[in-house]
């Protein structure tokens, strides 16, 4: 009996090895994503991006607007204005990552949280994933009834992330990661959908995030590439600057 169990384990292990060997390499999947969403040249035409849209805490009747400004190589500023809460601002100038809101006050990010924020701020990060991550295809899993490649992304610094790419379209459909900040380590699952072309790039217009029992839907309504962004847009607010001087 024990031999049968052992044999079964060997078969299972062999099966798993064969399956892993059959899987496409992560770099193939990640590079193909660039290709199916417009190609490297299309991405490289863009040097800045301004997006606006809306957000909703699903089922809770809480709504707001989202504005995002990004500029190469690594500048980012996002403002979410929530009815009844006010503005939640986050930004990075490539060196410093911060957040500020009346609800929670000012914060200069550090450690893994800072590393993740700086990675997220990198413009056209899809093109440069090799600079930041080691990637490995770890299996095939269904997402919303569709087979997806599961790709484990491990950064040099910061928290790892698992991405799911639709086997058929090679589009990114889901991301799972743990967000680490002073409030704790909070698992976040993001569903990515509604791919539509903006200029030469096919991009998702809807992200639904589940975290700490809540669901937040963000819908991108307008995207402008290479729009002129005021230089000081990416400067940290005075309160953050004062904290940095301290």
């Amino acid at each position: 009996m024990r031999n049968i169990v052992l044999c079964a384990l060997v078969v299972l292990a062999t099966g798993a090895r064969l399956a892993a060997d059959d899987l496409p390499k992560a770099e193939t999947i990640l590079d193909k994503y660039i290709e199916v969403t417009g190609g490297k040249a299309a991405y490289e035409q863009n040097h800045s991006e301004v997006s606006t849209g809306s957000m909703e805490l699903v089922g809770k009747g809480i709504k707001g607007t989202v504005s995002s400004f990004r500029q190469e190589p690594d500048k980012s500023y996002t403002e979410i204005d929530i009815q009844g809460i006010g503005k939640v601002r986050e930004g990075s100038d490539g060196k410093v990552a911060w957040s500020l809101s009346a609800m929670q006050g000012p914060r200069v990010k550090d450690g893994d949280e800072k590393a993740s924020a700086l990675q997220a701020a990198r413009f056209n990060a899809e093109l440069h994933w090799r600079d930041t991550y080691k990637a490995e295809t770890t299996g095939i899993e269904q997402v919303d009834g569709k087979d997806c490649y599961k790709v484990q992304m491990t950064p040099k610094e910061g928290m790892p992330m698992t991405r799911f790419y639709d086997k058929e379209s090679n589009l990114l459909v889901k991301m799972v990661m743990t967000v680490k900040n002073p409030m704790g380590e909070i698992p976040v699952e993001s569903m990515v959908s509604d791919y539509r072309k903006e200029g030469a790039i096919l991009m998702p217009h809807k992200v639904t995030q589940k975290a700490a029992g809540q669901e937040i839907a963000i819908t991108i309504e307008n995207v402008k590439y290479n729009a002129e962004i005021p230089k000081d847009k990416f400067d940290p607010p005075e309160e953050i600057k004062a904290m940095l001087k301290k």
């Binding site: 809770k60 002073p182 029992g213």
Partner: protein
């Protein structure tokens, strides 16, 4: 983005007293059944304790489903759903009548009041404060006056009933106060008759208008609309003072605190008055705390959810007030007030004065049900940084200062006076 919403449910229960007694159509009955199922499943799937403390939740469902199916009025259907939630024996689980949300379209349609706040002291309903420029202020009502009857109905039997039902509960004070104030509330323009005893114990009968409540109407998602106000001033040349009725309108609240703190750089102390404050947006406890804490990595407490834990971490402001901080609380301070006061006490950053708080501090959210009622449910347990859950325990002041009718009649505020005396001692 995490929102932690923690309005104390009793507010909702009492303002949701309007009757929906008309007979329901079959379609409306079905919506009530759907709502019942939604409430039941939500608790089953989202309560932080998957075992619900050993409660047989399926049996509760099977027992009450036939009752909601038979319920011929909205009131009856709500009663069934409320009784289901009451089996949990926890605060922050409530059904909010759809009618409550009409206040947004028609301010004052249900929330008018004569401008009186009440505490029950030694079984007497006593006016604890009178809003400036309110109908009560214009008719000369003063703190310390005793309310005997509202609309010709004695208040004492209701007080006795609540004293019996909540004898061992930290909710006693808030339930007693709300049993009176809920009767004072009503439609603007519809007067309320109050029989009182004045400072000389002389009977006074007054018909008072109900006016728009103090403050501005604030709303956040499906939370019932609330009126928010905040005041900041110096109560002595060198003691800052901020009071607000709820943790709402973050930008307005924080702006007021910021201005007070910045104008109080050389103050010998600061008082945050949370008496009667039933809570509000939970996360705002962190924002307020940041103006009084200058050390990094401070945490007020932790909310424990089914799948994750979230710390209420404080982000210190660069210009935070660093002097002695007194926080005033009473039995009507609930939820976010308790999270803030309890955390600041545990961090030894503030000294707490007044009376034990309501012990109603479960983080909760509001949703809309298929029948358009609101549904508040707790999503987490909350443990203050000292290691104790606040639910059912409350925050115990460092200095208990009882409120008396005599002090109110004399124009004194014992808790505030004691806090200021303590601040002055710190200076020496």
């Amino acid at each position: 983005m995490l929102l932690r919403l923690g309005v104390f449910g009793a507010t909702v229960v009492f303002i949701a007293a309007a009757a929906d007694r008309y007979a329901l159509t079959p379609g409306e009955r079905q919506l009530n059944v759907n709502s019942f199922e939604y409430v039941w499943k939500t608790v089953r799937d989202k309560h932080w304790d998957p075992k619900l403390g050993g409660l047989n939740w399926q049996a509760v469902h099977d027992e009450l489903l036939p009752k909601v199916e038979k319920a011929g009025t909205m009131d009856k259907a709500r009663e069934v759903m409320t009784s289901m939630l009451e089996r949990l024996k926890q605060t922050h689980f409530n059904i909010v009548a759809a009618d409550v949300y009409k206040e947004v379209e028609s301010p004052g349609s249900r929330d008018g009041n004569p401008g009186i706040d009440v505490r029950v002291i030694d079984s007497k309903a006593v006016v604890s404060s009178v809003d400036p420029d309110s109908p009560a202020a214009r008719r000369g009502i003063k703190p310390g006056w005793q309310i005997l009857r509202v609309d010709s109905k004695d208040v004492l039997p209701g007080i006795r009933k609540i004293q019996g039902g909540f004898a061992k509960s930290t909710l006693l004070d808030i339930m007693l106060a709300r049993s009176i104030t809920s009767r004072l509330y009503g439609k603007i323009g519809k007067a309320v008759t109050i029989d009182l005893l004045d400072e000389k114990d002389q009977s006074v009968g007054l018909e008072l208008d109900r006016a728009k409540p103090r403050g501005v109407m604030a709303q956040l998602g499906y939370l019932p609309p609330m009126y928010f106000w905040v005041e900041g001033r110096k109560i002595k040349p060198d003691v800052g003072y901020v009071r607000f009725d709820m943790f709402f309108e973050p930008e307005t609240l924080i702006k007021t605190i910021e201005e007070m703190v910045k104008s109080c750089g050389d103050c010998s102390g600061f008082v945050i008055d949370l008496r009667g404050n039933p809570g509000g947006i939970g996360g705002l406890a962190m924002g307020v705390a940041g103006w009084f804490i200058d050390k990094p990595d401070q945490v007020l407490g932790t909310m424990y959810m089914r799948d994750t834990n979230v710390k209420f971490a404080v982000n210190p402001r660069i210009d935070a007030f660093r002097g002695p901080l007194a926080i005033l609380v009473d039995g009507c301070s609930g939820s976010t007030s308790e999270i803030f006061a309890g955390g600041m006490k545990d961090l030894k950053r503030a000294r707490i004065f007044g009376a034990r708080t309501a012990g109603a501090a479960l983080p909760s959210v509001f949703e809309k049900l298929p029948n358009n009622d609101g549904f508040q449910y707790a999503i987490a347990n909350y443990v203050s940084q000292g290691g104790k859950p606040l639910e059912g325990n409350g925050v115990i002041p460092d200095e208990e200062v009882p409120l008396t009718r005599q002090a109110l009649l004399a124009g004194r505020d014992p808790a505030l006076d004691t806090a200021v005396t303590w601040i002055e001692k710190q200076k020496k």
